[in-house]
């Protein structure tokens, strides 16, 4: 009996030892003090490995990588896409097993938790004084910084704004050059567009998509003076009258029939197709929808304005997108830094980002020949000035998760008669509990 027990016990002990031995991390080969000055070319020869999430702006990242590879044939980037929903786990597994790429694109909202865990290379001494960073997207730079140390630079930016269908505006007797500047106007315009009848609706609210809502409803709250997420333990979420005011606004929009019924099951899969359908008068969406809506509905005339708040002319936007970061254990930190320098260079900002009608990641590069020829991109670029990015170590649990308190709160506001104070109190308690863990 004793010998029968010995083997499983030894096996378990060996397993624990193996697991314990696999926790180490590699240090980067060169320190900041030894690092050469950054350039926009190779620091050494050989292929660079890079991971990027598949659900982001793939078209833009492909163009950036192609531009780098063309200029640097001796250290081409080998890009691997990881499914968006798997990215956090995959990075964590890579870090734990020591199998990390040389650099990676990371959904910017997840950066703080990796920075806090010290799993990204601190780049402050290498890049902190670059003049390009003074005008880099402030949302990106906020989340790329942890305790005054810098861990990355913007890879690309997505901002939210209010897209409106000028054809439907004209049909409803509205001035197509005067988009709504407050939530009251938004409601009044939506009523008129819905009154056109058929399956035309004034507004769109994605009822089953946490991420779409922080992107498009979150700014309505920010513009109304509210704060949404709990940054960390002890921090108070959902602060300000704007939270309840916006929830009331959305509830009334749904009750008035201004939102298509199908929106209730929108989990993000068809969100990007809604505006281009031509049946929605106004909708919060992102800069990516400019090209998409044109492809979907070439004859549709549309405009872009900033997402408004309660007070006239108040506005806000969600700055999303990705950062370029260097995971701990990367063997090519110098090259990774050079890629960052390349991405922020004037030439790439204009000839790659702007030429493809994507937002530049530096605000001083917005005034360029490509945007001048495309007023809609200029309009959406204004969102970079009023935009922000939530900063919390538990963004997924609090906000982005389909099981999280943010979506639950919105669904109760949109589709139930529950008292809004109770709805907010419940969500607040759940968010605080997550942040306090």
């Amino acid at each position: 009996m004793r010998s029968r027990l010995r083997w499983p016990v030894m096996l378990a002990a060996a397993t624990l030892m193996l697991a314990a031995c696999s926790q180490g991390t590699d240090e980067p080969p060169s320190t900041a003090a030894q690092a050469p000055a950054a350039t926009t070319s190779c620091a050494s020869n050989g292929e660079l490995t890079m991971w990027e999430r598949s659900g982001g702006n793939k078209q833009m990242v492909d163009l950036l990588v192609a531009a780098w590879n063309e200029k640097n044939p001796n250290c081409k980037i080998k890009l691997t896409y990881i499914p968006h929903t798997e990215m956090v786990g995959k990075i964590a597994q890579g870090i734990a097993s020591g199998e990390v790429p040389d650099l990676m694109g990371m959904d910017l909202i997840y950066a703080p938790q990796f920075e806090k865990a010290q799993q990204l290379v601190d780049l402050t001494d290498r890049i902190g004084t670059w003049p390009e960073l003074k005008t880099a997207s402030k949302g990106h730079m906020t989340v790329a910084t942890f305790e005054n140390r810098l861990y990355g630079v913007p890879l690309y930016a997505d901002v939210s704004a209010l897209f409106y269908n000028k054809d439907l505006f004209k049909k409803a007797g509205l001035d197509p050059d005067k988009p709504p500047t407050s939530l009251a106007e938004l409601r009044a315009y939506a009523d008129k567009i819905t009154a056109l009848g058929g399956d035309t609706k004034g507004y769109y609210l994605p009822g089953n998509c946490a991420g779409c809502n922080i992107f498009t409803v979150g700014p309505l709250m920010w513009a109304s003076g509210a704060k949404i997420e709990a940054a960390g333990p002890g921090d108070e979420p959902l602060v300000g009258d704007g939270v309840k005011q916006v929830l009331q606004f959305t509830r009334e929009m749904v009750e008035a029939g201004n939102v298509p019924e199908g929106a209730r099951s929108e989990n993000g899969e068809t969100f990007h197709l809604q505006f281009g359908s031509g049946k929605v008068g106004m909708m919060g969406t992102g800069n990516f929808n400019i090209t998409l809506a044109r492809q979907q509905n070439p004859k549709m005339d549309f405009g872009i304005a900033l997402l408004p708040g309660m007070t006239p002319n108040s506005s806000a936007s969600f700055i999303g997108g990705d950062l370029v970061v260097v995971p701990k254990g990367s063997q090519r930190v110098d090259d990774a830094v050079n890629v960052m320098k390349f991405l922020l260079s004037d030439e790439v900002q204009v000839e790659v980002y702007a030429k493809a009608l994507n937002l530049t990641t530096r605000t001083d590069m917005v005034d360029n020949k490509y945007f001048q020829a495309e007023p809609l991109v200029q309009d959406v670029a204004k969102a970079l000035d009023v935009g922000r990015t939530p900063y919390t170590l538990t963004f997924f649990e609090q906000i982005n998760s389909p099981q999280g308190p943010w979506l639950k709160m919105l669904q109760r506001a949109y589709y139930s008669d529950d008292n809004l104070d109770t709805v907010i109190t419940d969500a607040k308690a759940a968010m605080k509990s997550i942040a306090n863990e």
């Binding site: 870090i95 089953n208 099951s265 989990n267």
Partner: protein, 292 residues
């Protein structure tokens, strides 16, 4: 003594490949999971020993039990449909004729499609705006406005997902039942015919008792598969509405990967694994009894 020792070594050598496989892919992950369940570990920070805290937390976690209850409900609904439906299809197609072979093949084809792919297919078929299901129902005059199949009403979502999974896996049970029915000795069938048994009597008194072991096997596979349901709910509802269609495995996945709470996810997995073990033991006992 020498002979028996040598025989033992030869035996172990024959067993070695399978043993290595089981140790590497079953025993090691299981031990690792038990170890993880006693720790708080996010993968990106060092693991911290917390004793039984994760288990205590799991028993007090309302959402876990909501998910667990939903999983049991889903299992209770889909299992009889798969067993009865699969058996009826098997009775209809077990005889050999061209039409029956074509029917068997047609019903079996979805089995070879991945569950993720079929879930995505049905997600689009059930789409309120673009789905063919609503279009077909509207063209037939059965509905006047689109039905929101997924993510709005838990019962309706469960119904839609059950329909998609039945389409996907009913052929598996059917094929096993067909094999079992065809294995019944012809003499027994002929004897029952000579005795004047009706078709119904043959099914209930001859075919069903002689294929009971296969019925229990298919039930076991179906119950385990349903208790581990993930892909279809992850893709088609993501647990909505209000987390009412979140299955246990979906909740384990959320905690383990997006939330990076591997220790807690491991504790939830252990509870789930023990539950499945209980179901399996009960069903195996029933199988033995039926055999006896």
């Amino acid at each position: 003594m020498y002979r028996s020792r040598r025989s033992q070594l030869i035996g172990i050598a024959y067993l070695a490949p399978a043993l290595v496989f089981v140790l590497a892919f079953t025993a090691y992950p299981l031990v690792q999971m038990v170890w993880m369940s006693f720790h708080n570990w996010s993968l990106i920070t060092p693991a911290k020993y917390v004793g039984l805290d994760n288990y205590k937390r799991a028993f007090a976690d309302d959402q876990f039990w909501v998910s667990f209850a939903f999983t049991l409900k889903y299992t209770a609904i889909i299992t009889p449909v798969l067993i009865v439906g699969g058996y009826l299809l098997a009775l209809l197609t077990s005889e050999s004729s061209r039409l029956r072979r074509i029917t068997r093949t047609t019903v079996f084809i979805p089995v070879v499609i991945g569950l993720g792919v079929s879930s995505l297919l049905w997600y689009w078929l059930f789409s309120a705006d673009f789905g063919l299901v609503n279009k077909a129902l509207a063209d037939l005059g059965l509905i006047s406005k689109p039905v929101l199949w997924l993510g709005v009403d838990a019962g309706r979502s469960n119904l839609a997902i059950t329909a998609s999974v039945v389409w996907k896996v009913i052929g598996f049970g059917m094929i096993l039942f067909v094999g079992a029915i065809q294995a019944i000795p012809r003499e027994i069938t002929e004897a029952s015919l000579v005795d004047g048994a009706s078709y119904r009597q043959r099914v209930t008194r001859v075919i069903l008792p002689l294929t009971l072991r296969t019925v229990l096997l298919v039930t076991l596979v179906s119950v385990i598969g349903s208790l581990l349901a993930f892909d279809q709910f992850y893709i088609m509802t993501a647990g909505q509405p209000q987390n009412e269609t979140a299955t246990s495995v979906f909740y384990v996945y959320l905690n383990s990967f997006p939330y990076l709470k591997l220790g807690y996810g491991a504790a939830l997995s252990m509870i789930l694994a023990l539950t499945i073990l209980v179901f399996t033991v009960v069903q195996l006992l029933l199988t033995r009894r039926s055999h006896a």
